[in-house]
């Protein structure tokens, strides 16, 4: 049973091989790449949770540039390994969502928690994405009028106000509202607010 996939990107074959061995011994599936572009070419969205361990300071491609490119392909957490202790770079990377910025050589008890954390983050990201996807499907099942009603309800309007705004009776609004709650599987208005925000349905 795999603990997740770790993509190791380092231009040094020895480092790739050693990290593969170490991480595999801890139950991770490991794939190694000698350059970010190799990785981007081969990358297919993995089934399991995953993260990237990236050597910064590749000639030809800046680690931070790669981070941007990766973000456009897949949102994977990155653990940076740096050959130099460039603090400014590290700070920038962290701000952009890197999980950790470690300097080489890295000790096992520093690397493993960083990877665990990255994998956990990916897992959380995944379930959030799935939830959003799920919500989007539900949202699309609403009729245009129901979306309108939902948008107004989450903006804090009372049924009566919604009715005035849409030129329908309060009773009609209630019916729409009930349908919205049912279709979105929302337990409360607060629940609905969260959902509508997640699908960007506010202000429809």
């Amino acid at each position: 049973m795999s603990n997740g996939t770790v993509y190791v990107i380092d231009d040094d074959r020895s480092v790739c091989s050693a990290l593969r061995r170490l991480l595999a011994s801890h139950g991770y599936s490991v794939e190694t790449f000698l350059s970010p572009s190799d990785f981007l070419r081969a990358y297919r969205s993995p089934e399991t949770a995953a993260c990237v361990v990236l050597d910064v300071g590749f000639p030809g491609m800046d680690g931070l540039e790669f981070q941007e490119q990766l973000a456009s392909v897949a949102a994977l957490p990155i653990v940076f390994l740096s050959g130099t202790s460039d603090i400014a770079k590290g700070v920038r990377a962290m701000k952009k969502g890197a999980v950790d910025f470690l300097s080489k050589p890295v000790a096992e008890d520093v690397l493993l928690p960083a990877i665990e954390q990255a994998i956990a983050k990916d897992l959380a990201d995944r379930s959030r994405r799935e939830w959003q996807q799920d919500l989007r499907v539900r949202w699309e099942q609403l009729t245009p009028r129901e979306k309108e009603v939902a948008g107004l309800v989450v903006s804090g309007m009372l049924n009566k106000q919604v009715g005035l705004r849409l030129h329908v009776s309060e009773k009609t609004v209630k019916v729409h509202r009930a349908r919205v709650m049912e279709k979105m599987q929302a337990d409360s208005v607060a629940d609905l607010v969260r959902m509508v925000d997640a699908v960007g349905g506010r202000g429809v």
Binding site: D12, S14, V15, R21, S37, P59, Q69, G83, T84, K104
Partner: protein, 553 residues
């Protein structure tokens, strides 16, 4: 060549001079062949007037069959007819066949063979003509020639780009794109630079930025380029997908009608695109043009790739040389530290893995062994890096040969000039001849002098009012040659003077403090001495001596 009467041509019409025009042939199958031949056939009477023509010839001439009869060629097809008539007259006069090529006439290229039709006793009965339409062949040849010309163009371009300096390579590529566009009669061509965020679209022949576009705005285009696709759109308004809204706006703003775009990838990364476009008329991009321009874009990508690799290696070489020249040990050690980190990282990870295998039930000794073997190898590798560094740091034994010290100093000051200038200092060299002859390792002595000059220049970099001069003096003192390097900086702190040449003592923020100890080691191995003192009213003087060389050595 004379045509003997025995020779008959398959297309030769029935040779019956008495037969009236238009009468049905006694040999219908020959008439059939005559009529259906896939080339033009004609028969002239001895007065050089058409007697008979087949439909193919009529269609070549674009004149009906009947309209030929009884007329001369010049009357039927003005322009090329005169030449046919002259050839017929020649054939009648000489009895010999003629081959002539005609055209271009209405964009057609024709070749005619005109031969005498001889009866018994070599009497001339008339003149025959076989006319072939060579237009397709000529066109094909022209295309081939064109192709060859384009390939020559590409050859010229890549030869030129291989020579031009790195900073001109982009304008060189733009020029090449312009040339190719002109060759293929495409209105515009340009090099787009695709950065991480923006895309720069520069007009050709101009250095100014024509337009900067956010990558996100033209995501469809960038994606196509990233995937390595060629875009050939004859009408950008209809051929781009709905999602390409931004692209459509950009195209409309620039008046682009048809567009042809090739990705330009360098080292596997998309760095730009070459685009050609029309603003006047729509253009169908035929496969031929696409193929040629694809070839060009590959050549240009190759040039960029190669240049980049060359620049990289020459940059590294220069950097190394520079480090060595200045003897800035601190930078060198930083490089070494970097090179040692990779094997160290592998060693640490492998050792951790090996330890884990020992604890993990079910893992084999083989796994542990593999990790240990790699550890050995990486340890060796780290050792090699250090050995190489030692060599670079000049720990090797000096190779003593007679050196021309004044000349060496001149060269060294020359070398140091740019670094000193960067620090806002000037280096002045003063030599009091005669300087006694010395022996030494020129590279190592140079390293010492450069190091002292660099230190001197650095010491004045901050808070020293101009003139920030480094004075290098050289003269003979008894049995020695003495070199002094003097600055006008803060001078050396009291108490630091004795320990100055000990390793790892540094007043500088960067650096490991190996520079001066190294200088000391080198000078001492040359049998000389190095000292430091403060100057008056300000500054420091570093002085080293080298012993006079033995006359007979």
């Amino acid at each position: 060549m004379t045509v003997r009467p025995a020779v008959s041509y398959p297309d030769t019409p029935p040779l019956d001079p008495d037969r009236p025009e238009g009468a049905s042939s006694s040999r219908p199958e020959l008439d059939e062949i005559y009529e259906r031949a896939p080339f033009g056939l004609a028969r002239f009477n001895t007065a050089g007037r058409y007697e008979k023509v087949n439909s193919f010839l009529a269609s070549l001439h674009r004149v009906p069959v009947e309209a030929h009869i009884g007329k001369t060629a010049a009357e039927v097809v003005p322009g090329i007819g005169e030449r046919i008539d002259r050839a017929i007259a020649d054939v009648i006069r000489t009895g010999e066949r003629r081959a002539i090529s005609l055209g271009p006439d209405h964009e057609r290229y024709l070749a005619a063979e005109i031969y005498p039709i001889l009866g018994d006793g070599l009497t001339l009965l008339g003149v025959g003509a076989i006319v072939r339409d060579l237009t397709p062949i000529v066109r094909a040849e022209r295309v081939l020639r064109d192709h060859a010309a384009f390939e020559r163009l590409i050859g010229r371009i890549s030869a030129r780009l291989a020579r031009i300096p790195a900073h001109e390579i982009e304008s060189g590529i733009e020029e090449a794109v312009g040339e190719a566009a002109r060759f293929l009669r495409i209105e515009h061509g340009a090099l787009l630079r695709i950065g991480p965020r923006d895309l720069e679209w520069r007009g050709i022949g101009e250095s100014r930025v024509f337009r900067t576009i956010r990558r996100t705005r033209i995501a469809w285009f960038v994606e196509a380029m990233r995937e390595g696709r060629v875009l050939a759109l004859s009408d950008v308004r209809v051929e781009m997908p709905d999602s390409a809204e931004g692209e459509r706006e950009v195209a409309a703003a620039a008046g682009v009608k048809s567009l042809l775009a090739f990705p330009l990838s360098v080292g596997g990364n998309l760095s730009g695109a070459i685009v050609y476009w029309t603003t006047e008329n729509d253009r169908q991009w035929d496969a031929e043009i696409v193929e040629r321009l694809l070839l060009l874009s590959q050549v240009l990508a190759n040039v960029l790739d190669r240049r980049r690799a060359e620049d990289e290696s020459s940059r590294q070489r220069e950097e190394l040389f520079h480090l060595w020249r200045l003897g800035t040990v601190n930078q060198l050690t930083a490089t070494i530290a970097h090179d040692v980190r990779a094997p160290l990282t592998a060693i640490v990870a492998n050792a951790a893995a090996a330890a884990r295998f020992l604890d993990l039930p079910g893992s084999s000794v083989d796994e542990v062994r593999e990790a240990l073997i790699e550890i050995q190898r990486d340890g060796q590798r780290a050792g090699d890096v250090v050995a190489r560094a030692r060599e670079l740091l000049g720990r090797r034994e000096p190779c003593l040969v007679p050196i021309d010290l004044p000349q060496l100093l001149e060269d060294t000051v020359e070398l140091a000039h740019s670094t000193a200038t960067a620090l806002g200092a000037v280096v002045i060299l003063r030599i009091d001849r005669p300087v006694p002859p010395v022996e030494g390792d020129a590279a190592q002595i140079q390293q010492v002098v450069l190091n002292l000059i660099a230190n001197a220049a650095e010491s004045m970099a901050e808070a020293t009012p101009p003139p920030r001069e480094v004075l290098v003096r050289c003269r003979g003192e008894g049995d020695q040659a003495v070199v002094a390097v003097e600055d006008r900086g803060e001078g050396l702190p009291e108490g630091a003077l004795e320990r100055l040449f000990e390793p790892f003592l540094t007043t500088k923020e960067h650096g490991l403090g190996l520079g001066l100890p190294l200088c000391k080691a080198i000078i001492e191995r040359h049998g000389g001495k190095i000292t430091a003192e403060n100057a008056r009213p300000r500054g420091a003087i570093f002085r080293f001596s080298l012993p006079r060389a033995e006359e007979d050595s």
